[in-house]
C-alpha cells in the first residue's frame, strides 16, 4: 500500500559485479566507499582499490522501494505475496559502468 505524506526520495547506485565485504562476516555495517562529485557533477566512487567514474541518470521509469510488512520470512523471489509499504521513490540513479581504475597503493621505494 502507498504512503501518506510526502514520500522520501532515494537514489539508486548501480555497480557492475558483486559487492563483497572486505573482512569475512556480514555486509551490514561495513564501508562501501567514498562518493565524490567532480565540479562538473560527475560522480566518482572510490571502492577499495578502485576508482569508478559514473554518470547521473534520470530514470525513465522510476522505482518504488517496497518494504515487506510483518517481519515474515523472506518473500519468495517469484511471487510477492504479502503486505508491502512504499517507503521511498527513486527517480535518479548513479550508474558506474566504466571500468574501474585500480589504485596503486604500493609505490616502490627509491633506492
Amino acid at each position: 500500500s502507498g504512503g501518506t505524506g510526502a514520500l522520501a526520495q532515494w537514489v539508486l547506485v548501480e555497480l557492475q559485479g558483486e559487492v563483497e565485504p572486505r573482512q569475512s562476516g556480514d555486509l551490514a555495517g561495513s564501508l562501501l566507499g567514498d562518493l565524490h562529485y567532480t565540479c562538473e557533477g560527475v560522480p566518482v566512487l572510490i571502492v577499495g582499490h578502485h576508482i569508478l567514474y559514473g554518470k547521473v541518470v534520470q530514470l525513465e521509469k522510476p522505482f518504488a522501494v517496497l518494504v515487506k510488512q510483518g517481519g515474515a520470512p523472506q518473500p519468495s523471489p517469484t511471487e510477492p505475496h504479502g503486505h508491502y509499504t512504499v517507503t521511498a521513490l527513486i527517480k535518479t540513479k548513479l550508474l558506474f559502468k566504466t571500468r574501474p581504475k585500480p589504485i596503486i597503493t604500493h609505490v616502490p621505494k627509491k633506492v
Partner: protein, 390 residues
C-alpha cells in the same frame, strides 16, 4: 565500525591521485546499513502514471491468492508482475542530494555519512494487463438471488461485500465496480448479488406485460407507475433494478422514465429460449423468438453476438447457446476451447468470442495472427488452430 574521518578521505584521494580541487568539497561515505542484507526491501519499477499516483498519496495493492500469479492494482488499472534480473548490483540509498544541492548547502560541511538501505540484483517489472474478472462472476454465481420468497437466502456463506471482492479479485477497485455494473449485479443487504436468470426473466416479464397493458411507449416507461402497479408482486428495489438493467434512465419534467433497451431485451429472451435445448432449427427459433419479444421490438441475429452461434454448415441450419462468459479467460485456453467447438471459424463468427481478450491497444486481427492459422475455404478466409487438437 568507526566512522571515516575527513583526513582519511583526503588520504585516500591522495593515494588515488585525484585532485581535490577538481572535486566538490563534500564527500559521502557510503556504508551498508544494519538492515541492508535482510532482503526485506525490494524494488518495483513503475509504469507511467503510477509514480504520480503514489506521490498523490494513493495506494498500490498487490493481489493474488497463493495459487495465482500476483498482480499490482492501482485505483483503476491492473498490472502483471514479473521479476527482471540485471547483471548489475543495485544499491538503494536514502536521502538523495544532487551535486547542485551539495554545492549549494554550505551547512553540510565536508563529509556526510550515508547508509545503504538495501541492495538487489533484480526488481519487479510491471506490465498492464486485463483485470482478471471472470472470478467475479464465478463468486456471485455461487448463490444467485432468487427473490425474497426463496428459502435459500439464509446463510451468508457465499455472499460477498465490496471489501470481500476487493480482496479476492485480481483487479483494481474501479475495474471491479465497473464490471459489477456490466453484469447487472445489485447490492442486497450489503452483499453483491447476481439475479438467478429465471427470476430475472420473471421480473422482466412483469415489466413488459405492464408496458403492453398500459400501452406505454417503449421509449418512455414511468418508474413511479411501475413501482405502484408491481410493488405488490415484487420488492420495489427489484423492480427498479430490472428497469435499470434493461432500460436507460432519464428524467423528464422532474419524473423518472426508462427508455427500454430493445437489443438487450431481445437477447435475454433468446437466452431463455435457447437454454432449454442443445440446439434449435434456426428458422423455427427465429419465428418463436420474434413472437416472444414485446410488441414493437424486432429481433435480429446480431443481437446474439457472444451468446449464440449459428451453424451454417448443417442442413437445416441450427443455432445453439454459446456464452462467451462461460469460456476460459486465458488467451491460449480460450482459443483451444473455441477450436474444440468448431475447427474453422470466420473472423465475423469468432470476433465476439475473442473481443474481450484484446489488451489496451490490441486488435482482434493481432490476436488471430498470434493464436490462429488462416486458410481459404470456399473463397472465404477462415481461421483454425495453430496446433493439432487431440
Amino acid at each position: 565500525a568507526a566512522m571515516r574521518s575527513r583526513a582519511e578521505v583526503d588520504a585516500t584521494l591522495q593515494t588515488a591521485k585525484l585532485n581535490p580541487a577538481e572535486l566538490l568539497p563534500v564527500v559521502q561515505c557510503l556504508s551498508f546499513g544494519p538492515q541492508a542484507g535482510g532482503g526485506e526491501c525490494c524494488l518495483l519499477q513503475l509504469e507511467p502514471g503510477l509514480c504520480a499516483e503514489l506521490e498523490a498519496g494513493r495506494s498500490l495493492v498487490i493481489r493474488g491468492e497463493k495459487d495465482e500469479h500476483a498482480v499490482l492494482c492501482s485505483k483503476d488499472k491492473t498490472y502483471d508482475m514479473k521479476i527482471a534480473d540485471t547483471s548489475n548490483m543495485l544499491l538503494f540509498v536514502p536521502g538523495y542530494k544532487t551535486p547542485e544541492e551539495l554545492k549549494a548547502d554550505l551547512a553540510l560541511g565536508n563529509i556526510i555519512y550515508s547508509q545503504i538501505a538495501g541492495f538487489s540484483k533484480n526488481y519487479w517489472e510491471l506490465r498492464r494487463c486485463r483485470p482478471k474478472l471472470k472470478k467475479l462472476r464465478k463468486l456471485l454465481m455461487e448463490d444467485p438471488y432468487e427473490g425474497p420468497d426463496s428459502r435459500k437466502d439464509e446463510s451468508t456463506f457465499s455472499k460477498y461485500t465490496t471489501e470481500d471482492l476487493l480482496s479476492l479479485i485480481q483487479a483494481s477497485e474501479e475495474e471491479i465496480l465497473h464490471q459489477l455494473q456490466v453484469i447487472d449485479a445489485c447490492k442486497i443487504e450489503g452483499y453483491w448479488r447476481i439475479l438467478d436468470f429465471d427470476y430475472e426473466m420473471k421480473l422482466l416479464n412483469h415489466v413488459t406485460q405492464l408496458i403492453d397493458s398500459e400501452s406505454w411507449p417503449l421509449s418512455k416507461v414511468p418508474l413511479c407507475a411501475c413501482l405502484e402497479e408491481l410493488g405488490s408482486l415484487e420488492p420495489r428495489e427489484m423492480i427498479e433494478h430490472i428497469l435499470l438493467s434493461y432500460g436507460r434512465k432519464f428524467v423528464d419534467d422532474g419524473e423518472v422514465f426508462f427508455e427500454m433497451r430493445e437489443d438487450k431485451i431481445c437477447r435475454a429472451i433468446a437466452q431463455m429460449l435457447l437454454q432449454n435445448a442443445v440446439k434449435f432449427n434456426l428458422s423455427e427459433f427465429e419465428e418463436v423468438w420474434q413472437q416472444s419479444v414485446p410488441e414493437g421490438m424486432t429481433t435480429r441475429l446480431d443481437q446474439l453476438q457472444g451468446l449464440a452461434l449459428v451453424d451454417k454448415s448443417s442442413r437445416p441450419e441450427t443455432i445453439f447457446l454459446l456464452k462467451v462468459e462461460d469460456l476460459p479467460e486465458d488467451n491460449q485456453e480460450r482459443f483451444n476451447s473455441l477450436f474444440g467447438i468448431r475447427q474453422k471459424w470466420t473472423e465475423v463468427d469468432i470476433t465476439p468470442y475473442i473481443q474481450d481478450l484484446c489488451a489496451e491497444k490490441q486488435t482482434v486481427g493481432a490476436l488471430l495472427t498470434k493464436y490462429a492459422r488462416s486458410s481459404m475455404l470456399n473463397g472465404v478466409k477462415v481461421y483454425n488452430s495453430r496446433r493439432p487438437i487431440s
